[in-house]
């Protein structure tokens, strides 16, 4: 089976936010929000970007969207019309504009991401109008098509966002993102503000749209269970760095990084009999302003040895397509999800 085309290739992406102090805004340090992240997203597939808060996953998404300029690294994007690929990290806003329609975003907070002063019709029409894709009757037809795509009704078109529940708003958000038929959607925690039953609806809808239209998702989430359900491949981040990057199945069957193992065991399970297997990590996630030397995870790691504190482990391929940043990836025999019986 030939693999689908690589749409997005992120290479050694870094974003360091300067910290200013004092009257003269002297730079006193940097928040290393993203510190060397690489992955590939292929057409029509889902890549899960997982990590705890502050690990830089949102910043990665925003950099792909062009909201922040990376400190270094590349974001290669392959436009669908066969043009040569372009580095989004090194591009002027003017050049970015025609590319925007291919990459769209769904936000976390369904209450903040819709302009309360616009009707659903206006919200959905906006991307079509500003990109001069459609107008008049055609525009209306496209808007109606979108509304149906996300399972809303035509009577909803004239309503304002306040009239909708969180789940419905998220549907509108998805419809807006789909308006230009992009090939990549960056979904930043699209369900974490929703109740579980509504979350399931949005998950189903997203899968349905992917099957129908073949859009690729970069699914940013902290919820391993959801990511497992969704993604073909998973990138695990810790303090701005990738700790493990692998296809979902082998990752859950046998994680190679101690952090992945701990994270899996910590997902709360509805099976009370499984409680004994938790790996409780000590302490808090590392501080991105002042990350620990060597492996950033070593202060919390159960298996850490002397060298972990001094030598930073590179991201190595331990199995085909399975990349891990751990010195002992080959030696450790970590417990996967099945053995843990955890929820994911």
């Amino acid at each position: 089976m030939s693999e689908a085309q690589v749409l997005l290739e992120v290479k050694d992406l870094k974003k360091h936010f300067p910290i200013h102090r004092g009257v003269f805004k002297k730079v006193v340090g940097h928040v290393k929000a993203v510190d060397g992240v690489s992955f590939r997203l292929r057409a029509g597939e889902t890549l899960g970007l997982v990590g705890e808060s502050g690990c830089g996953k949102t910043t990665v998404g925003r950099m792909i969207m062009g909201a922040y300029r990376p400190t270094s690294g590349n974001v290669w994007f392959q436009p669908p019309n066969g043009q040569p690929r372009i580095d989004l990290a090194d591009i002027r806003p003017k050049q970015m504009k025609p590319l925007r329609r291919h990459i769209q975003m769904v936000f976390q907070d369904p209450f903040a991401s819709l302009n309360p002063r616009m009707t659903v019709r206006q919200i959905l029409a906006e991307p079509l109008v500003v990109n001069k894709v459609a107008k008049g009757r055609e525009l209306e037809a496209r808007v109606r098509e979108l509304v149906e795509l996300v399972g809303l009704k035509l009577i909803h078109l004239n309503r304002y966002p306040h009239a909708f529940s969180g789940g419905q708003r998220q549907r509108i958000s998805i419809a807006r993102a789909m308006a230009l038929y992009p090939c990549v959607i960056v979904a930043d925690e699209p369900t974490s503000a929703l109740d579980v039953s509504v979350q399931a609806q949005i998950v189903n809808l997203s899968l349905e749209i992917q099957d129908k239209i073949g859009v690729a998702y970069l699914f940013i989430s902290h919820d391993l269970g959801l990511v497992r359900h969704f993604s073909k491949k998973i990138v695990l981040m810790y303090v701005g760095r990738v700790v493990e990057y692998a296809p979902a199945e082998p990752l859950f069957a046998r994680p190679r990084h101690p952090y992945t193992e701990a994270l899996m065991s910590n997902v709360p399970s509805t099976r009370p009999e499984m409680v004994g297997h938790k790996i409780i990590l000590e302490g808090d996630p590392a501080d991105p302003i002042n990350p620990p030397s060597g492996c950033p995870f070593h202060p919390r790691c159960l298996y850490a040895e002397e060298m972990c504190a001094t030598v930073e482990p590179p991201l190595m391929e331990v199995e085909p397509e399975h990349l891990v940043a751990c010195h002992f990836a080959d030696v450790l025999n970590l417990t996967g999800c099945d053995a843990l019986g955890c929820a994911v």
Partner: protein
């Protein structure tokens, strides 16, 4: 049940403006304030017609006349249409004070739509029709007269016109300044923001009354009244725009990071569309609130300036100019009605404040 459904449907389809209005309507004081302001503006538009006399007409026979008492019972206790008695000036031989004595023999009924002083309505046409009045030689002074025998009621109406308009014009100028400078500050950030913020801080550091005094002292004394009027509004707004600029800037900073603005940017919307479609409508209502709350400040400032004698000057009649007459304690003790313009000031300021408060509560209809 069905009624509920219709109501729910109405709520679901309501626009932001409707939601704001529904919420505003619940605020009783704000509604009262709104009616008062609407009434006052009607007064300012039609004040030539509503006032029984011209603001400059003086009555030699009625200097410092107290407010006329309007009666409906005559000497014999019979009910008649409202009337006033004729008054004659007498000097109290003991205290050497002027006092007016009602002459109960002569009644002047109050009539509607009487002919009186001629005026030019908004400079458009000439007329001498007044809403009410009495036949000559009688006088009706609802709020008494001043030292030249000019009707205080009429003068208050004219004064309200000037004071209200100065508030509007002044705030409009501040708005233009505040929106532009605050907008640049908030949207661009960086060094323009730093510069504008420092300017704002410097202006806010000046004690306002000496600053006004200095600026008005710089005005050539031979300027005609109209020019003074405009100069004063400009002075007031030059000082007053800073609050607005800060509000606009703060709001823009917050909105710029809002996800719906980001979403528009990611959809490919340009600066103009983001500003006019997303940012401006979102804080328009906040601007209206700030403006409503700024108007009374302007009016009070003008009143204060004129009261000190460095603002508007006669023949322009503003509430402050009227109050200047009541600067001395003996005058107030003898002719307390000269202080009546204060009540107009209070009414205007309170109304604007109530409206502003009501709007502020209503403006964010999504917070429950």
């Amino acid at each position: 049940m069905n009624q509920d459904k219709i109501r729910a449907e109405k709520y679901l389809n309501a626009s932001t403006r409707q939601l704001i209005w529904w919420r505003y309507k619940k605020h009783l004081l704000a509604m009262a304030g709104l009616f008062c302001i609407a009434g006052l503006y009607v007064v300012t538009i039609f004040c030539e017609f509503l006032a029984p006399y011209d603001k400059a007409t003086f009555h030699v026979d009625a200097i410092y006349a107290p407010p006329s008492s309007i009666r409906i019972f005559d000497q014999d206790g019979k009910i008649r249409r409202p009337f006033v008695y004729a008054c004659t000036l007498e000097i109290d031989t003991e205290t050497q004070q002027m006092c007016y004595v009602e002459d109960t023999d002569e009644r002047f009924p109050i009539r509607l739509f009487v002919r009186g002083d001629t005026y030019e309505f908004w400079g458009l046409w000439e007329s001498d029709l007044h809403l009410f009045g009495v036949d000559a030689p009688g006088h009706v002074f609802l709020l008494g007269t001043d030292r030249m025998g000019r009707d205080m009621f009429s003068r208050c109406l004219y004064g309200t016109r000037i004071s209200l308009s100065i508030g509007m014009v002044g705030v409009f100028l501040s708005l233009v300044l505040g929106l532009t400078l605050g907008g640049i500050s908030g949207y661009m950030g960086g060094w323009p923001d730093g510069l504008i913020q420092r300017i704002v801080e410097v202006i806010r550091c000046f004690p306002s009354i000496p600053l006004w005094m200095g600026l008005s002292a710089a005005m050539p004394p031979h300027w005609p009244a109209l020019k003074v009027y405009f100069a004063i509004t400009i002075i007031l707004s030059l000082v007053g725009w800073t609050d607005l600029a800060r509000m606009v800037r703060g709001k823009l900073f917050a909105l710029r990071e809002e996800e719906f603005v980001l979403a528009a940017r990611f959809a490919g919307a340009g600066h103009a569309r983001i500003i006019f479609r997303h940012l401006l409508p979102s804080f328009m209502s906040h601007i209206i609130v700030t403006v409503t709350l700024a108007i009374p400040g302007m009016i009070l400032a003008e009143t204060a300036l004129s009261f000190l004698g460095i603002g508007l000057r006669p023949p322009i009649t503003s509430l402050g100019v009227l109050l200047k007459e009541a600067q001395n304690v003996t005058t107030i003790a003898l002719y307390p009605w000269l202080l009546i313009p204060v009540f107009f000031v209070i009414l205007i300021v309170l109304s604007f404040n109530f409206v502003g408060d009501g709007l502020r509560d209503a403006v964010d209809p999504y917070s429950r």
